[in-house]
């Protein structure tokens, strides 16, 4: 019996140990975690989010549910450029107030925004200059409330606002609202900043004193005020019988009747806090715009709001914020869409209005139960750092390919202390385990590793297709060609350029002559605030490294000591020429930070215009920068390609590769094809010059209206304000640019080990070290790295 008991005990304990060791906490970490963050391009990261009504985020790649809000863009009447208000009236019609070709454009729709008819109001007899209209709002009953200013007063610096109220028949009258004077005592007039109508027709305004008032529509008298002297009202809305006020501390609710504040809505505020941390600029009340828009729900005590991650529902005193629409699947995640308003439409739909690329947009979201909750195909895209161009590409791609759900994984979010090395190790682990992303954005990584190890698929066929359709700059897209295969392709590029005085710039042909030129400029201009305009070692490295590093490796595996010596010597001499004007006691030009992945350095044209620098070195990354360079040239300056220790260098951006072991190889190639295609390459936020020839040709068109001349201004250290009216380049200029793009064929070196070694020694050098020591230290480190290969 004793022996039997022992056996039972042994078996029992053994079983417990076995199950205890085998227990885990659920599914494996998604790719990218442990070294970064996984997010759908637009999916929520906030606290308190729960399952999605109508969506099932997280099923990814094979959602079982059916039904999703589908996006439809409605066309707007001709000439509408900016919508001020959209309102669903009590009678079910939709009213719009906009500005565009006319300063005030009013429309009505009986089919939820699909078509519009103009609405006329009698304004002429009021003698109001329509161009001074600041805001127009429709009431639920069809009245129109307008805020305007007086032009003469504005010219005199008086920003006082005046109000008009139009009835349902379009007859208007002045409505005088006597606001208290400004609490700042500045002498300026108080004015209305924003206005909303409540569902019951009540009018609520907020003034510059940050006080919200209820106004009697008949008399214009103040009926109530909701003042909190310690807060700045970023935005407010009427939600049923409550007032929602968004301040820097979050969202508060007040009972409209009593004026008392309701209990703090923790779940909602948690979410908004997460949003605010992602978008600090949204809280910049000086812009008058908040990125959050709110609308009341059906029940009167619930609300909807949206941001780039989706549209959400919240019930007051609730504990969760529900995602209703996943922004990752539609235009909400667009980096260029600025949402101005949100209203409910029909039984379950929504209408969102705003602007995108300076054009008004009206987007309807209606639930379609026949559409899968999530697209059937999931594509994973990985990037070390977040990138707005990439997000825009994903959004555009998803819009054109609604059957694909793109998940963006970011290796380094910036919040979690993960370094690039950590993120790359995690990525490599996932790649080797077969769980890696389908598409890799190779910026910040040593591209050669992935190419040589066969981790990436050959993209020659994709390049061939796009080349046949649109034409590509072959020298750029084939920059990483190896053994007849192209494993990595830059989606856009930057060109190193230098701008300066026409007389002296001609002598600059390489790094040595550039250094001599910088020193001569300093000799001739001892009091100039700066020469290149880059005081920091990080800034100097960003444009010097890329144009020189390709010259350092001989036969691919031996460092050229002489070339390195020349580089550090030039770096030191240029920095000496720069810092001679730095005030005493502040001579160090070393700044903290560094470890940047990218070596892009936008040209500091403002510094050059303002006279704070005598030359401007950096990288040309857009046609707009090209236009500025051309304008400077037309005024007597000169610009040319910036050659360092190597000529013909360009900075590749958004270099993309497809995981050879990925599950969605064909879809991934389709995504790459989209990135190289004309549609994406033509968009304003590409982040570089396009490699697509058709997009390049399309970019020649002046994006500014003929009656608008863009300009830039800069006030330098001298205190003098300088302006530059920018002329769009001519066809000949574009032909020159095209030749320039066709002439470069050496991608800036992407080797992170060499760059980190050089960066570390550059800092030591500029803190007083010697060139010889810097060179030897780099050689030791890099030779060790090279000996590992």
């Amino acid at each position: 019996m004793k022996g039997f008991g022992k056996k039972v005990m042994a078996l029992f304990l053994g079983t417990c140990l076995l199950f205890g060791a085998a227990c885990s906490n659920g599914e494996a970490e998604p790719a990218g975690n442990g070294g970064g963050n996984t997010s759908a391009a637009g999916s929520p990261g906030g606290a308190g989010t729960s399952g999605n009504a109508g969506t099932s985020a997280g099923n990814g790649g094979g959602g079982q549910g059916m039904g999703r809000f589908v996006e439809t863009e409605y066309s707007l009447p001709d000439g509408v450029e900016y919508m001020m208000d959209l309102r669903l009236l009590e009678d079910g019609t939709l009213r719009m107030a906009a500005i565009g070709t006319n300063p005030l454009m009013l429309y009505s729709s009986k089919d939820e925004g699909k078509s519009w008819e103009p609405v006329e109001i009698s304004m002429e007899q009021l003698g109001v200059d329509k161009t001074m209209i600041q805001s127009a709002r429709w009431s639920p009953s069809g009245q129109l409330f307008i805020i305007y200013m007086n032009q003469d007063e504005v010219m005199a610096g008086n920003m006082k606002t005046y109000c008009l109220l139009f009835d349902q028949k379009g007859t208007g009258k002045e409505l005088t609202i006597d606001l208290p004077p400004l609490s700042s005592g500045s002498g300026n007039s108080n004015r209305i900043s924003d206005v909303h109508f409540a569902p019951d027709g009540g009018l609520y305004i907020v003034d510059v004193n940050q006080t919200i008032y209820q106004i009697d529509l008949e008399s214009g008298k103040i009926l109530k005020n909701y003042a909190n002297p310690d807060t700045v009202v970023e935005t407010f809305a009427v939600i049923g019988k409550n007032l929602l006020v968004k301040t820097e501390d979050g969202v508060e609710f007040y009972d409209l009747e009593t004026g008392k504040s309701l209990a703090r809505q923790e779940a909602l505020n948690e979410y908004i806090k997460a949003f605010d941390s992602r978008h600090p600029s949204a809280a910049d009340v000086s812009t008058g715009v908040s990125d959050y828009v709110y609308t009341a729900g059906k029940d009167g005590n619930d609300l909807y709001f949206c941001d780039e991650t989706g549209l959400y529902h919240y019930t007051l005193d609730g504990s969760v914020v529900e995602q209703v629409i996943d922004g990752g699947l539609n235009s909400l995640s667009s980096t260029t869409l600025k949402v101005r308003g949100l209203i409910r439409s029909g039984e379950e739909g929504f209408l969102i209005f705003g602007t995108e690329n300076s054009k008004a947009k009206l987007i309807a979201f209606n639930f379609d139960s026949s559409v899968p909750t999530l697209p059937g195909t999931e594509l994973t895209v990985y990037a070390l750092e977040d990138n707005t161009s990439l997000r825009q590409a994903i959004r555009m791609y998803q819009h054109d390919n609604p059957d694909v759900y793109v998940t963006l994984e970011i290796g380094m979010s910036g919040d979690d202390g993960v370094t690039a090395a950590d993120a790359i190790r995690t990525l490599n682990t996932n790649l080797m385990a077969g769980k890696g992303p389908d598409v890799l954005i190779l910026d910040g990584m040593t591209i050669g590793n992935y190419v040589e190890k066969g981790m990436l698929t050959d993209l020659s066929d994709v390049i061939g297709e796009v080349s046949s359709a649109d034409g590509l700059f072959e020298n750029l897209v084939n920059a990483y060609q190896s053994d007849g295969k192209v494993m990595a392709v830059p989606v856009c590029v930057m060109l190193p350029m230098i701008l300066g005085n026409a007389d002296g710039l001609g002598s600059v042909t390489d790094l040595k002559t550039l250094t001599a030129y910088v020193e001569s400029l300093r000799q001739k201009n001892p009091d100039a605030p700066g020469i290149c305009g880059t005081e920091t070692v990080d800034g100097l490295l960003r444009w010097m490294y890329g144009i020189s590093s390709a010259a350092w490796l001989k036969d691919g595996n031996i460092l050229d000591e002489a070339a390195l010596n020349e580089f550090f010597d030039c770096l030191k001499r240029i920095s000496e020429a720069e810092k001679s004007q730095i005030p005493a006691g502040n001579e160090s030009i070393i700044t903290s930070g560094g470890g940047n992945l990218y070596l892009s350095y936008n040209m500091d044209l403002f510094s050059y215009l303002g006279g704070d620098s005598l030359i401007c070195a950096g990288q040309m990354d857009s046609f707009q920068v090209f236009a500025v360079l051309e304008t400077f040239r037309s005024q007597g300056d000169a610009y040319q390609s910036l050659n360092g220790q190597t000529a013909g260098v360009f900075q590749p951006m958004l270099t993309v590769g497809v995981n050879a072991k990925g599950d969605q190889s064909e879809t991934a190639k389709g995504f790459v094809k989209y990135l190289l295609g004309k549609d994406f390459q033509s968009n304003e936020n590409l982040g570089g010059l396009p490699v697509n020839r058709a997009a390049f040709d399309a970019g020649k068109k002046n994006p500014f209206p003929s009656d608008l001349t863009p300009s830039m201004s800069s006030m330098g250290a001298s205190g003098e304000l300088k302006d530059l009216e920018i002329q769009w380049p001519s066809e000949n200029s574009f032909a020159e640019l095209q030749k320039r793009m066709e002439s470069v064929n050496i991608p800036a070196d992407s080797n992170q080990v060499i760059r980190e070694a050089v960066e570390a020694e550059a800092k030591n050098l500029l803190e007083g070290g010697s060139v010889a020591d810097a060179v030897q230290n780099v050689i030791k480190k890099v030779n060790l790295y090279l000996s590992e290969q």
């Binding site: 304990l13 590793n449 190890k453 981790m455 790295y785």
Partner: protein, 284 residues
């Protein structure tokens, strides 16, 4: 023919050990077999390459440097650690209660987090750090500790500082297990301190010596953490260890070379352990 029979008493033991054995097999043995397999395959394509990975690593300069440094480190540090910790433990045992607080003090370095050690290291051994400052005050010349062959000795010092307390405790446990009656008998026979130490203490500490040697050897690999935090992926040549190489090969996706090197290291460690065991068994 001998028949393998599991006796009654053995069955319960086997059942107790089985879960742990399964765990070790699943998480250690099987992955190691996978590594061995990968050492004969290409990095990513998985094609059979025979022994070319082994040929590659033995002709690789970085591997030879790292292996040499690792062996040098072990050969220098372990005897030093054993001797120093033994002397300290003998001293602590001899002085008894008077220096009892030192026992805890020697263990403190083990409790300090690696990141803190790296920070202390930087403060002390930076070119403008505390040590150079002291040296300058005493009339000496500053040394670039981290970028010169002195880096190796800094590594040795760190290892000794961190692990001496652990070994002291183990030695003291061994010392306390020696019956005092033997010393009394020796004293009666006229043996002095030195004779007692060499003829009684040391022979009785042999079991402890084996344990300490093995543990010290394994702990010598952990010094990579401090070395990496201070020196990065590419420190001075003198402190470039096998783990640095593995770390960098992993980043560069050189899994084939890594697997081959890992197998070589595992075999070497296994042989060293076998040697220790044979020596020990012979002593017994």
């Amino acid at each position: 023919m001998k028949r393998f029979r599991i006796r009654r008493g053995q069955r319960a033991g086997i059942l107790f050990v089985l879960p742990s054995l399964l765990g070790v097999a699943w998480f250690l043995l099987l992955p190691f077999l996978d590594v061995v397999a990968r050492s004969f395959l290409g990095a990513v394509n998985g094609e059979w390459v025979g022994i070319s990975n082994y040929q590659t690593i033995f002709s690789n300069e970085a591997f030879r440097l790292a292996a040499g440094n690792t062996v040098k480190f072990a050969v220098v540090c372990i005897p030093l650690l054993i001797v120093i910790s033994l002397l300290i433990s003998v001293g602590l045992t001899h002085f008894g209660r008077k220096l009892g607080f030192l026992k805890s003090a020697f263990l403190l370095p083990m409790a300090i987090p690696v990141a803190s050690v790296a920070l202390i290291w930087r403060l002390l051994f930076h070119s403008q750090g505390i040590v150079n400052g002291l040296m300058e005050q005493l009339g000496g010349n500053p040394v670039d500790w981290m970028n010169s062959p002195a880096a190796f000795w800094v590594l040795v010092l760190t290892y000794l500082w961190k692990n001496v307390g652990y070994d002291v405790i183990l030695w003291m446990a061994g010392l306390s297990a020696i019956p005092y009656s033997i010393y009394e008998a020796a004293e009666v026979d006229g043996a002095g301190s030195w004779k007692c130490f060499t003829k009684i203490t040391l022979p009785n500490l042999k079991p402890t010596l084996y344990t300490i040697t093995v543990l010290s050897f394994l702990n010598s690999f952990k010094v990579f953490r401090e070395a990496y935090l201070v020196g990065g992926a590419y420190p001075h040549d003198s402190m470039y260890l096998m783990q640095h190489l593995f770390n960098n090969w992993y980043r560069d996706l050189s899994m084939d070379k890594m697997a081959a090197a890992a197998v070589v290291v595992a075999v070497v460690i296994f042989l060293v352990m076998l040697c220790f065991q044979r020596i020990w068994a012979r002593e017994d």
